[in-house]
């Protein structure tokens, strides 16, 4: 079944880049949706089923950490795997986001292959 992907990043050019990488993964991709911050992401998740969320951390209005907290509090949304895509490679941040429920963490800059591999890993975990 085709996978719906939600890309959450306040940078339009970064969303375009990730969209392009997602298209190159070889995965069966259905709909790719975009959101500029966590609140927009929750609005999308409220009306469409997403199989995977790729989110930045530093965003206005609602950041990636708050988005993860909201998703974890929702019985349905907590089952959706989230991969964090961030410039912050600090050990504290990675541990914190994983503890909040993130299924993967990719640090910018990243090679397209590394994001694709993390997506496949997160989705296999989900569908196992």
């Amino acid at each position: 079944m085709a996978l719906n992907i939600l890309i959450v990043d306040d940078s339009p050019v970064m969303r375009s880049f990730i969209r392009r990488v997602v298209g190159l993964t070889g995965l069966d991709i259905g709909e790719i949706c975009e959101a500029g911050h966590g609140r927009e992401a929750l609005a999308v998740l409220g009306v469409r089923w997403m199989d995977l969320v790729l989110t930045d951390i530093n965003m206005p209005d609602m950041n990636g950490e708050e988005l993860l907290r909201h998703m974890e509090q929702d019985e349905l949304l907590r089952t959706v795997p989230v991969i964090v895509v961030s410039t912050d490679a600090s050990v504290n941040r990675v541990q914190k986001m994983m503890a909040l429920g993130a299924r993967g963490y990719v640090t910018k800059p990243f090679a397209p292959d590394s994001l694709a591999a993390e997506m496949e890993r997160a989705l296999e975990v989900t569908h196992a």
Partner: protein, 152 residues
């Protein structure tokens, strides 16, 4: 504990090269502390980081150099001036995040949203400046300046 200045210079150069090669598929030329084409039209971006240390990073790049970088990043033949501006902001964001992650590998930090500033402001000497690196690109020069707060 902060790195010595020469180590920060090395880290800034290394981060700049890694970001350009990995995300923009561009191999920069040699690193220098001099910017050779100040007379050309440029755009500039600054963002602040808060953590341990705190400070700001500014970037100045010739428009002629930024446009092909944006095109390579987006996989498009042509890009709009707005996309070039957004791309410069994202480049600054990635450079700053990568650099601060290397300066302090354990503590997390917060980045402000990158904002466009005048090239003069980006390149002016500042209190707390610890590193300034320029690299040659295909159509101009990219200069990155790192400053740390006095208490950072």
């Amino acid at each position: 504990m902060l790195e010595p200045a020469t180590r920060i210079d090395e880290q800034l150069g290394s981060v700049t090269r890694a970001v350009l090669e990995t995300m923009f598929f561009t191999e920069p030329g040699g690193l220098t502390t001099e910017d050779s084409d100040l007379a050309l039209p440029r755009l500039a971006v600054m963002l602040r980081f808060r953590g341990s240390p705190s400070g700001d990073l500014s970037l100045s790049v010739t428009r002629a150099a930024m446009a092909p970088l944006a095109a390579a990043f987006l996989g498009e033949d042509e890009v709009s001036p707005t996309q070039v501006d957004e791309m410069a902001c994202e480049l600054a964001n990635m450079l700053c995040g990568s650099l601060v992650s290397r300066l302090e590998t354990r503590m997390s930090f917060d980045l402000s949203s990158p904002t466009l500033i005048t090239p003069e402001a980006a390149l002016a000497p500042r209190a707390g400046e610890v590193s300034r690196q320029s690299c040659e690109l295909a159509h101009g020069t990219l200069t990155v300046v790192l400053s740390l707060d006095a208490d950072g």
